[in-house]
């Protein structure tokens, strides 16, 4: 079942439609409801390898639907700790629960101050309203 449109208040948002949940010096990353809705049902998640590094504003993987492919942009920089295997095996999980079971990677942040440049939920809602 596709999720209803939400933008939780405890997350930080990147203009390329990615979210981050910050927990100490670690962060969980994923794509927003808006992003999964624009793509349609996902059929493939090309994930990074644990141990690799991701850089803020740069792509760390791809998600694909039948007729579209999208880079996943990192909202924060850091080292990949874990990849969500469930999203790899059943990519539709991202559609069903983009902020829960459909998370994509967990990183150790290399520059936690970067979080200050991200949007809160209200700012992100305003951002997508413009699109």
């Amino acid at each position: 079942m596709p999720a209803a449109e939400t933008y939780p208040d405890d997350l930080k948002y990147h203009p390329e439609h990615d979210w981050a949940l910050i927990d100490g010096d670690e962060a969980t990353l994923g794509i927003t409801w808006f992003a999964q809705d624009a793509l349609g049902e996902l059929v493939h998640y090309e994930a990074p390898t644990p141990g690799s590094t991701v850089a803020k504003d740069e792509s760390y993987g791809e998600v694909e639907s039948v007729k579209a492919v999208s880079d996943i942009v990192a909202p924060l920089s850091g080292e990949v700790l874990v990849v969500n295997q469930k999203a790899v095996d059943e990519p539709e999980t991202v559609n069903d629960d983009p902020y829960g079971d459909g998370w994509l990677i967990r990183i150790r942040m290399s520059d936690p101050a970067e979080a200050d440049t991200l949007m809160d939920a209200d700012a992100y809602r305003a951002h997508i309203a413009e699109q």
Binding site: H44, E46, E64, S65, V66, K67, A68, V69
Partner: protein, 441 residues
């Protein structure tokens, strides 16, 4: 002109609907400076009857295999194309359809491509085949692109016994990909596995040909192992018509199997159009170039076919696509499917056995020294006592084209003639070749 359908009355009505006085008004968007101001300087229009006469006259000035007994091969082979292929080619639905973007309109061609992919996988021992590439040259370049992206390495190794045109195309493409191409020389007609192993270090892929361009059978399993041991993807360039008797590349560890499909289903046609086939192990599926058809179901749950994994392709992934290919060679690939179906497993084995038998017979009957002491499939390289080009000229005077001058590609083989024998040649044809060569040599 008879291909246009509008009457004067139609034009008037249409112009009125558009709201312009003449067709000329529609071209006002073209800046006057780039309008073409005169009539095209091309030959006059020909009615159909004159068109046929003109093209027949051009066709008559070609010496084809119906008027000259030909032993030419070297990449393009005169195998028999069965009459049932005409059923396919004469059906306008196949002939005049575009790429099957809309599956509900195109189940027939989609299913046929799925069947073709299955046949290619069966013959090569691979898991996945695309719907075809342009020819046996460009699929090799495609394979290099795949190998580069899956290995992260920037060198490919090609056997010197790989068809020279294939090597040339690989080199042309490789400059764009940023790939270095290294050639491994032959030793007595085939590649030495140890030498190949040494060259394969840090290579993305190794491409060799079985049977090779010189007509010899390579120690293919040893070559594949040598490449794989060095961490390079082994890629076999094979002839579909050999795969009833020769081992499938998948059985000896190849990562990809590619080749020119012409020998199965297509007449020589002065070089094309034919089809290149491209098959690979499952792990390459997301890097495959070109169209791929997959099985699925429709809303009612009935089996149906559709172009799938399209996110690999240029119309979606654009500059990150696995290839720029869009138009391919579907109609020719389907001619291959019909031909291979007509042959069946027994027929394909029969073709192979006849080719090998005729080649052995030719070795004996020609009585010429063999250029290479290696097992062969359907081509044999022999040494001539006179320059090959002169022999070809003199033999053609007597109505026989004796084969391909290997000196065209290998300067040290100035005296070597490559003779091709398909099941369309008979022992009596070989006898005639022997007599003609005896006369002109």
């Amino acid at each position: 002109m008879s291909y246009l359908s509008l009457t004067d009355a139609d034009r008037d009505e249409m112009l009125a609907a558009i709201g312009v006085a003449s067709v000329e008004a529609l071209f006002e968007q073209i800046p006057p400076g780039v309008r073409f101001g005169r009539e095209l300087d091309v030959p006059r229009a020909l009615p159909e009857l004159e068109l046929v006469a003109h093209l027949s006259e051009l066709a008559k000035r070609n010496v084809h295999t119906g008027v000259e007994l030909s032993f030419l091969g070297a990449g393009i082979y005169d195998h028999y194309v069965p009459a049932v292929v005409d059923v396919l080619l004469s059906r306008g639905e196949f002939l005049t359809a575009y790429t099957p973007y809309q599956p509900e309109m195109s189940q027939g061609v989609l299913q046929a491509i799925f069947e073709y992919q299955t046949v290619i996988c069966e013959l090569t021992g691979m898991d996945v085949s695309n719907a075809s590439g342009y020819d046996g040259c460009t699929v090799a370049a495609d394979a290099c692109f795949v190998a580069k992206h899956t290995s992260g390495r920037t060198k490919v190794v090609v056997a010197e016994t790989l068809n020279p045109q294939v090597r040339q195309v690989v080199k042309t493409y490789a400059s764009g990909f940023g790939l270095e191409v290294v050639e491994v020389p032959h030793r007595g007609g085939t590649i030495d596995p140890d030498e190949l192993a040494a060259a394969s270090v840090d290579a993305a892929a190794v491409i060799f040909q079985q049977p090779n361009f010189l007509g010899c059978l390579e120690p293919a399993p040893d070559l594949a192992a040598a490449a794989a041991d060095a961490g390079a993807h082994p890629i076999a360039h094979v002839d579909l018509m050999s795969l009833g008797v020769l081992e499938a590349p998948g059985a000896y560890g190849c990562a990809m199997a590619i080749g020119e499909g012409q020998s199965a289903g297509c007449p020589p046609l002065y070089g094309g159009p034919h089809y290149g086939f491209f098959a690979a192990r499952q792990d390459f599926v997301r890097r495959m170039p070109g169209r791929i058809v997959g099985e699925t179901v429709d809303l009612d749950g009935q089996r149906a076919f559709v172009l799938t994994l399209q996110t690999r392709e240029q119309h979606i992934r654009r500059e990150k696509a696995t290839s720029n290919i869009t138009t391919n060679q579907t109609l020719l690939a389907l001619a291959g499917l019909v031909t291979l179906t007509w042959l069946g497993p027994q027929g394909l084995r029969g073709v192979g056995e006849t080719c090998v038998g005729l080649t052995e017979y030719a070795k004996e009957r020609l009585g010429l020294p063999l250029a290479f002491e290696r097992p062969t499939f359907k081509e044999v390289a022999v040494r001539l006592p006179r320059p090959v080009r002169d022999v070809i000229r003199d033999a053609r005077e007597l109505g026989v084209h004796p084969g391909y001058a290997l000196g065209r590609d290998y300067p040290e083989m100035d005296d070597v003639l490559l003779v091709a024998l398909t099941e369309k040649r008979t022992p009596a044809d070989v006898d005639r070749l022997a007599a003609v060569l005896a006369e002109v040599c």
